[in-house]
C-alpha cells in the first residue's frame, strides 16, 4: 500500500467504516509510515478540536431576541393566512 492509497481511506478509517481486512492493511502501512501516522493523528485532532471548541455559540440574550422575533413573524403569518 502506498501513502496515496492510505489517504483515500483516511476518512473511513477515522470513522471506523472499513472492513477488518482493509483495516489490517492500513494498520500495516501505519506501522512503518511515520508520515501517514502523523497525518492520521493530526486529522483526528483537527476533528476533535472543532467538535470540542464550539466557535459559534448563540448567547442567551440574542437567543431570546431571535426566538421572540421568529414567533412574532409566525403569529403574523398565521393571522395573515386566516385573513386571506
Amino acid at each position: 500500500m502506498k501513502c496515496n492509497d492510505f489517504l483515500k481511506e483516511l476518512s473511513d478509517y477515522l470513522d471506523g467504516k472499513i472492513t477488518e481486512g482493509l483495516k489490517a492493511e492500513l494498520d500495516e502501512h501505519l506501522h512503518w509510515c511515520h508520515e501517514c501516522h502523523v497525518v492520521l493523528n493530526t486529522t483526528k485532532k483537527t476533528i476533535e478540536i472543532y467538535r470540542d471548541n464550539q466557535i459559534y455559540e448563540l448567547p442567551d440574550p440574542l437567543r431570546t431576541r431571535l426566538h421572540d422575533a421568529i414567533m412574532s413573524k409566525c403569529r403574523n403569518a398565521k393571522q395573515h393566512k386566516k385573513d386571506v
Binding site: 496515496n4 489517504l7 483515500k8 483516511l10 476518512s11 473511513d12 477515522l14 511515520h34 508520515e35 502523523v38 497525518v39 493523528n41 493530526t42 486529522t43 483526528k44 485532532k45 483537527t46 476533528i47 478540536i49 472543532y50 467538535r51 471548541n53 464550539q54 466557535i55 459559534y56 455559540e57 448563540l58 440574542l62 437567543r63 431571535l66 426566538h67 422575533a69 421568529i70 414567533m71 413573524k73 409566525c74 403569529r75 403569518a77 398565521k78
Partner: protein, 209 residues
C-alpha cells in the same frame, strides 16, 4: 443501551407530535421546535455565512419558512433534516448576496487540489489547546475554516461539528453519498494542513504564522 434507544425513539415520537400540533396551527408546539434546534441552525448559518448579522437573518428566515411550509413536510425524513436543508439554502443565498460574482454554490471549488497531499507532517496533535488562550484558539479555528470553499466547510460542519451521518448530510445537501465522502475527506485534510501551519510555528516558538 436499551434506555438510550428508548429515549431516542421517544424523542422522535415527541418531535413528530410537536410537528403535528404545529401543522394544526399550535404556535406553542412550533416554539418548542425552535428551542430545540435554534443553536444548531445558528452555528451552521455562521459557519456558512461568516457573518453574525446574516446568521441571525438565516435563523429567523429558516424557521419562518419552515413554519409557513410545514404542510409540505412529508415526514419521510426527520424534521431537523428538513429544517437544515432550508437553513443551508438560506445561508447560501446570503453568501451569494455578499459576493460580487454571485456564483456561490455547494459545487464551487470542489475541483481544487489543495490539501490533497499533506505537506506539513510535524505531529502537533498532543496539546495544541494548551498553547493558546480560549479566545485566541477560537480566532484560529474561525480563520482556518473560513478559508475553505463553502461546499467543503458545509459538509465538514454537518458531519464533524454537528455529528450527522454521511447519509443525513447527503440528504440535507441534495448530494450523493460519494460526493459527501469526497468533500469530507478533502475538508478534513485541508483544515489539518492549515491548522498545522499555526500550531507548528507556535511550537517552534515564534508565535507567528
Amino acid at each position: 443501551m436499551v434506555t438510550i434507544q428508548k429515549k431516542a425513539v421517544e424523542g422522535v415520537t415527541d418531535e413528530m407530535a410537536l410537528v403535528h400540533a404545529a401543522k394544526r396551527g399550535d404556535l406553542e408546539a412550533f416554539s418548542q421546535l425552535v428551542n430545540r434546534y435554534d443553536r444548531n441552525i445558528f452555528r451552521i448559518a455562521q459557519h456558512i455565512t461568516h457573518n453574525e448579522e446574516d446568521a441571525q437573518d438565516v435563523v429567523q428566515d429558516a424557521f419562518l419558512k419552515a413554519y409557513q411550509n410545514l404542510e409540505q413536510f412529508q415526514e419521510n425524513s426527520k424534521f431537523y433534516t428538513w429544517l437544515v436543508r432550508i437553513a443551508v439554502n438560506e445561508a447560501l443565498m446570503k453568501l451569494r448576496k455578499r459576493r460580487t460574482d454571485r456564483t456561490v454554490s455547494l459545487d464551487e471549488d470542489v475541483e481544487t487540489e489543495e490539501g490533497s497531499m499533506p505537506r506539513e507532517v510535524a505531529d502537533w496533535s498532543p496539546n495544541p489547546e494548551q498553547l493558546y488562550g480560549q479566545s485566541e484558539l477560537g480566532d484560529i479555528l474561525k480563520k482556518t475554516i473560513q478559508g475553505l470553499p463553502p461546499g467543503f466547510r458545509t459538509v465538514f460542519v454537518l458531519r464533524d461539528v454537528e455529528g450527522l451521518s454521511t447519509e443525513e448530510t447527503a440528504e440535507m445537501l441534495g448530494l450523493s453519498v460519494p460526493a459527501v465522502k469526497s468533500r469530507l475527506l478533502r475538508a478534513r485534510l485541508q483544515l489539518r494542513e492549515r491548522l498545522a501551519r499555526y500550531f507548528k510555528s507556535k511550537r517552534d516558538g515564534d508565535g507567528h504564522q
